[in-house]
């Protein structure tokens, strides 16, 4: 089922992309225009999607999408990354990474509060120091200056 959905996605993606590429122009006086290469690539994507749809399912084994605990862990990592990307511009690197680490360690790993806080604190500080002082890279700071 997932496979079918993905193949349909390829067809749709390829088709819409081809239309967009067409609007960019195919051939101009000086040779290919902006749209030609993307158009060809989109057509390939859509055609491949069609071929895959038409064939019987050929996966070696059914895709095992996660359930239960596995699913929560995967979602936990994704959540952590979302927090990181969304929070960094406002809260600065240190605080955001501390929070993210806590989220990761608590949801995915289920460590105790103490070990989570400790590890989060240690890793945040060492990364900040490693990149900030040693490599001289400015990691974003929050409104409180660090």
């Amino acid at each position: 089922m997932f496979e079918r959905a993905l193949n349909v996605f390829w067809v749709v993606l390829g088709a819409t992309s081809a239309v967009y590429a067409w609007s960019l122009g195919m051939i101009g006086p000086a040779g290919p225009e902006s749209g030609l290469f993307p158009f060809i690539a989109s057509v390939i994507v859509a055609s491949a999607g069609v071929v895959l749809l038409l064939r019987p399912a050929t996966l070696a084994h059914a895709p095992d999408f996660p359930r239960g605990g596995g699913l929560w862990r995967v979602l936990g990592v994704i959540l952590g990354l979302i927090v990181m990307a969304a929070g960094m511009p406002y809260l600065g690197f240190s605080v955001t990474s501390f929070i993210t680490m806590i989220i990761l360690l608590r949801t995915v790993d289920r460590s105790s509060w103490l070990s989570a806080v400790t590890l989060a604190f240690l890793s945040t500080v060492s990364v900040f120091w490693l990149f900030g002082s040693m490599l001289g890279m400015a990691l974003p700071r929050g409104p409180w200056g660090w």
Partner: protein, 336 residues
């Protein structure tokens, strides 16, 4: 109360300046330093990749400002979209807290007028100091069918044989615009081969893949010394000190419209607090007076536009240049 303090400091600085050798720029600068600033490194934002001409200018400047003020300066390259990503960042996202200084080039104006689509304008960035100018230079090869020709010969050749002389351009910028002007005025037609930057064009020139390349002095100086390229003309108001034998386009064609220079200057986002802005402006301007820095810049083949060097109102003078560019865009139909 802050204003009084700044005014006092400026007066002191101005009064001591004519004393010449007795004034200490570092001390004067220290007097202008606002309280609690800076507590973290200041970012000099460069919107082009590391190692390029803009980057080199910015890093030299940062080095000297750091020495003068003792503050930590970090040069940061925010690249992408031929400068668009960095310009947008400076104009719309950078916090106006004095910790971001953009070291930008006048290509900013083109981006703002043609590509920003109203989201920001170059007036969102306030100029605080002029750095240097780099004029566009046409170079030809020392081998091949066009060697030894002057710029007028080349244009005539392009008139006689339209669409055969290959010129390296960077699309969407002054490299194209000067060609538009020349072609419009002389009836010549060049074959425009697009590249990602002036340097790539120079490489192609040496490899025999184009006949004319356009770039800045620092991009071809090594090849010039190696005898591989021959400079043809410069798109500036006067001849360059480092290449006195090279005419300007205006000289060669009896015109005054072939003026294509990269003006580099430092900006801060608007609404930066006045005291921090004044401090940063003073820091950069003082650094720009350092003879060592000037010498280093001269080695890069930049020149210092006298109008901007001694400008009383930098923003107004820069805007005047920007206006000229805007008129060009309107005249050539790029802007309504």
């Amino acid at each position: 109360m802050k204003w009084a303090g700044i005014a006092y400091a400026l007066v002191v600085a101005l009064l001591s300046a004519p004393a010449g050798a007795q004034s200490d720029p570092k001390a004067d600068l220290a007097k202008l330093k606002p309280k609690d600033f800076p507590t973290q490194p200041i970012e000099f934002t460069v919107v082009y990749p590391a190692g390029g001409g803009m980057d080199v200018s910015a890093r030299l400047l940062a080095k000297h400002v750091e020495n003068l003020t003792g503050d930590r300066i970090l040069v940061n390259n925010r690249t992408g979209g031929a400068g668009m990503v960095g310009h947008s960042y400076l104009a719309t996202q950078a916090k106006p807290d004095g910790y971001t200084v953009g070291v930008v080039a006048s290509l900013l104006w083109g981006d703002a007028m043609l590509r920003a689509q109203g989201r920001w304008s170059f007036t969102d960035l306030e100029p605080i100091a002029y750095v240097n100018s780099d004029a566009l230079i046409w170079v030809g090869s020392t081998e091949g069918p066009y060697k030894g020709m002057s710029i007028k010969d080349v244009v005539n050749a392009a008139k006689d044989k339209p669409n055969t002389i290959r010129v390296a351009i960077v699309p969407g910028s002054m490299w194209e615009y000067i060609l538009d002007q020349i072609e419009a005025n002389s009836g010549a037609k060049f074959l425009r081969v697009p590249f990602q930057g002036g340097g790539a064009g120079i490489t192609a020139l040496i490899g025999g893949n184009v006949d004319i390349a356009q770039g800045f002095y620092s991009e071809f100086r090594g090849h010039l010394e190696g005898g591989k390229v021959a400079p043809l003309a410069v798109a500036a108001a006067g001849r360059m000190d480092f290449l006195k034998g090279m005419p300007t386009f205006n000289e060669a064609f009896g015109s005054n419209e072939y003026l294509w220079q990269l003006v580099r200057y430092a900006v801060v986002p608007k609404d930066t607090p006045a005291d921090r802005k004044a401090y940063l402006a003073a820091a950069v301007q003082t650094a720009m007076k350092d003879p060592e820095l000037i010498a280093e810049y001269r080695k890069q083949g930049v020149f210092f536009d006298p109008k901007l060097e001694n400008s009383k109102n930098l923003a107004a003078d820069l805007n005047a240049y920007a206006e000229v560019e805007r008129q060009f865009y309107i005249k050539t139909g790029r802007l309504k």
